[in-house]
């Protein structure tokens, strides 16, 4: 869908996802790295645990469908070459600290004067302006400052984040892709590009707002991880142990009770584990706000026993068959083995000739009938397309390339 567009990718970290999605959508994405390589190449996990900057699975994941060149923007030669590339580009995505590009003489105003149609997309921890614009952030800081951390965790332990890689920056990355395409679409009507500004903190506030600002704004209530439910002081189970892990299921009350709970009772009965108490309960009048802990425990007892007998995969399959909304707490292996993803041909095999193998990747994020989204090729090696871009496209001589290489420009 985005095949006429060229994107220059100056991001690092999870922000790399932004241009990857544009590449999957067909744009010509050029990842620009420092001659020493992007910091993301040092982030694990690694292919077969071989710790090597050409084997980072993190790098692989977020750089499909891109070509790669090296370029050092901190040299005068590098900046001049960049400006040449800007002339024929449509979009630049960057995640430097606010002001960094301005400091190099590559701020939006300069870029606009080189190419009035250029769309510059900037991703930063707190945005391009404001009292916190120079604050440093990593995922845990963004997650905390955005409000999602406060409401996540056990009451007797600190608030907790989602482990490993930065979810916050992934949200910002997709938002940046949206902003990029929005600005490109708008450019057709106005003839002008613009500067898109994405704050990681704001993306987290969006993630958290339903259980934070919405309750504060509406009724002055602060939900905490100690009391996550507005509606009941009772201990109710949502996470149930099963034979090989856990599943999530919520017993319903009120208007949805019969529609949600009865299918589970049907399923239990079909496996000779039905319970008369559950069947005979008056679900129309049952409410978690008015019942007792004893009753809740009595309801949960036979359900607990039932879930324990089956595996995650079995319960999902039975759930679909009987229309019970029980879902596995999936591990990465479970996701990998998902029946649904396989049936939809979701996974994509990408060749890694230098590894002598192909690796399976998450595929298209949407199934488009006319112009399919395609995860087209593996992440670039360092400087893999230097010759293609510098020599073939820009016409640099061999002498020039040697000089630039030795001067740490490329």
């Amino acid at each position: 869908m985005l095949s006429p567009y060229r994107v220059l990718d100056l991001t690092d970290g999870e922000e790399l996802l932004s241009a990857k999605l544009l590449g999957d959508l067909g744009a010509d994405v050029i990842k620009i790295e420092n001659p020493g390589g992007s910091a993301a190449r040092r982030i694990g996990p690694f292919y077969h645990d071989e710790i090597d900057t050409e084997k980072s699975l993190f790098w692989f994941a977020f750089n499909t469908s891109k070509r790669g060149i090296t370029l050092n923007l901190e040299t005068a030669d590098g900046r001049e070459i960049f400006k040449t590339l800007v002339k024929t580009a449509d979009c630049i995505i960057e995640s430097f600290p606010p002001g960094y590009l301005d400091g190099l003489g590559l701020g939006y105003k300069t870029l606009e004067s080189i190419n009035p149609g250029i769309v510059l997309v900037s991703i930063s921890p707190f945005g391009q302006s404001g009292p916190y614009k120079h604050y440093k952030a990593s995922d845990i800081v963004s997650w905390a400052m955005g409000g999602e951390m406060y409401v996540t965790g056990d009451p007797d332990r600190p608030p907790v984040r989602i482990s490993y890689h930065s979810q916050a920056r992934m949200h910002a990355a997709v938002e940046a892709s949206v902003g990029a395409v929005a600005a490109l679409y708008n450019r057709a009507a106005t003839g002008e590009g613009q500067h898109v500004d994405v704050s990681v903190q704001e993306c987290v506030v969006q993630v958290a707002h339903q259980f934070t600002t919405m309750f504060w704004d509406t009724n002055g209530i602060i939900l905490t991880r100690a009391k996550p439910s507005m509606f009941s002081n009772l201990r109710t189970t949502r996470l149930w142990a099963c034979r090989d892990g856990y599943v999530v299921f919520s017993v319903s009350s009120g208007v949805h009770a019969k529609r949600n709970n009865y299918p589970l009772f049907d399923l239990m009965e079909s496996r000779d584990m039905g319970d008369e108490y559950l069947r005979s309960m008056d679900w129309d009048t049952f409410s978690f706000t008015t019942t007792t802990q004893e009753i809740v425990d009595r309801i949960e007892e036979p359900i607990r026993k039932f879930f324990l007998k089956y595996s995650k995969a079995e319960l999902l399959k039975l759930g679909v068959e009987y229309r019970v909304q029980v879902y596995p707490v999936a591990t990465a292996a479970d996701v990998q083995e998902s029946v649904q993803l396989a049936a939809r041909d979701y996974w994509v095999e990408l060749d890694h000739p230098e590894l002598g193998t192909a690796i399976r990747y998450p595929g298209a994020f949407v199934v488009a009938s006319e112009t399919p989204v395609r995860v087209s090729h593996r992440a670039p090696l360092l400087g893999e397309h230097n010759l293609e871009i510098y020599e073939k496209e820009l016409g640099f001589s061999h002498e020039k390339l040697i000089t630039l290489k030795q001067a740490n420009v490329i």
Binding site: R161, M170, V320, Q340
Partner: protein, 404 residues
């Protein structure tokens, strides 16, 4: 006034609940004309669920609905009646985009599938967003965000290594889906602008969420490794975590990555003797003694409010923050104030309320949030101004109970 970003985009919006409306809200806040099809008998779940202003329920008082449906128009239409279906198709002829998020296959059964809409509007872009996609053995299975979050793998990697999986708070995947939905829609719009071709977009929220698990998934695919929860730890940083502060349930977060960070961190906390001990001298050493390190850091942070910790650390160039609660976000955070993330709106039934503006800003195009519509508020506007129906035609629909 600068042309609004999505000024000329027309959206026929069948979405309900969270993920769908949050996507069309970005379109409407940036100027698109979004017509929301509603129904008295089966109102949008978010109109029925709370929280409600002053805890008084009402179809026009729901905070969820009002926050997620700013700047949109609402028309009541009974799609189970042939005349209702007809009006919907007339709107499809008018629209650039039709979007729905019922469970897989539903909209086709209703007679509003892509093939049907294409007949009245060959260039229409239609997007269906549901949990698991329109095809496959689990396509029609209902579910909600918190369940998909577990299915996608996020719950398993949230929480403590010695405890059961926790999961992020709320319907986490409901906040991933809309971003991808917008990306798909805008890309398709741009393609159509260039080629005249519309298309059908089958978006599975599961398939979008999996992208946020990509590195962990590749570890499983390539290395056969299934990683578990690690609390607030990070391989290549220490100290790294949430630390207790002065005040009730007040916490800060601190993340020290480089030697320089460590040096500045020690400076801020007054260079106590323990920081000079060899077991804290290098990153690797700190990782081997992290429980003790965290205990010592907590001893310091406990004496300060999180605001103070953040200010002191950030002044020294160390990444640190407040674990902000709802009140911090909406009333105290100076950055969010400066950025005008929260818009105050006035609603005839729910009174004053706050909604978030879109997460991306563009330098030359303004956005404007208008309050969410009352149920069926724009029946007349849509039928008269957009569909150019006569008073008689409208009266017929009323009599037949189509505008309910």
């Amino acid at each position: 006034m600068r042309k609004k970003l999505f000024e000329d985009i027309k959206v026929l919006d069948f979405t309900w609940a969270a993920a769908g409306p949050m996507a069309t809200k970005v379109l409407s806040d940036y100027g698109a004309e979004v017509i929301k099809i509603e129904n008295h008998r089966h109102p949008d779940g978010t109109r029925v669920g709370g929280p409600f202003k002053d805890n008084i329920p009402g179809l026009n008082r729901s905070a969820c609905f009002n926050q997620w449906n700013t700047s949109k128009r609402s028309i009541l239409l009974d799609l189970s009646q042939p005349k209702g279906l007809e009006v919907a198709k007339k709107l499809a002829a008018w629209a650039d985009i039709a979007i729905e998020n019922f469970s897989g296959g539903t909209v086709k059964r209703m007679g509003l599938g892509y093939e049907e809409l294409k007949k009245v509007n060959p260039g229409i872009i239609m997007l269906s967003s549901c949990m698991m996609g329109q095809t496959g053995p689990y396509a029609a299975h209902p579910g909600v965000g918190p369940l998909l979050t577990a299915l996608s793998g996020f719950n398993h990697i949230t929480g403590w290594p010695d405890r059961e999986p926790l999961g992020p708070s709320g319907a986490y995947t409901d906040f991933i889906g809309p971003r991808f939905t917008l990306l798909a829609l805008l890309s398709a719009l741009d393609l159509r602008r260039r080629t005249g071709k519309g298309q059908y977009l089958d978006l599975s929220q599961f398939e979008t969420s999996v992208h946020f698990m990509a590195p962990v998934l590749l570890d499983s695919i390539v290395n056969n490794r299934t990683v578990d929860r690690i609390g607030n730890r990070l391989d290549y940083a220490a100290p790294h975590g949430a630390y207790r502060c002065w005040g009730e349930d007040r916490w800060c977060v601190i993340a020290v990555f480089t030697d320089k960070d460590w040096e500045c961190f020690c400076e801020v906390i007054g260079n106590p003797p323990w920081t000079k001990e060899p077991q804290f001298g290098t990153l690797w050493a700190r990782k081997q003694n992290e429980d003790e390190l965290d205990r010592l850091v907590n001893e310091w942070t406990m004496n300060y409010a999180p605001e103070q910790v953040m200010e002191m650390m950030q002044s020294a160039g160390v990444a640190a923050g407040i674990v902000q609660n709802a009140q911090d976000l909406q009333e105290r955070d100076p950055q969010l104030k400066h950025r005008h993330l929260f818009w105050k709106l006035n609603h005839p039934e729910a009174g004053e309320y706050t909604s978030l503006r879109p997460n991306f800003l563009v330098s030359k195009s303004p956005h404007e949030l208008q309050r969410a519509p009352l149920l069926g508020e724009h029946n007349e506007y849509v039928l008269k101004e957009i569909l150019k129906m006569s008073d008689d035609e409208i009266a017929d629909l009323v009599v037949d109970g189509v505008l309910d």
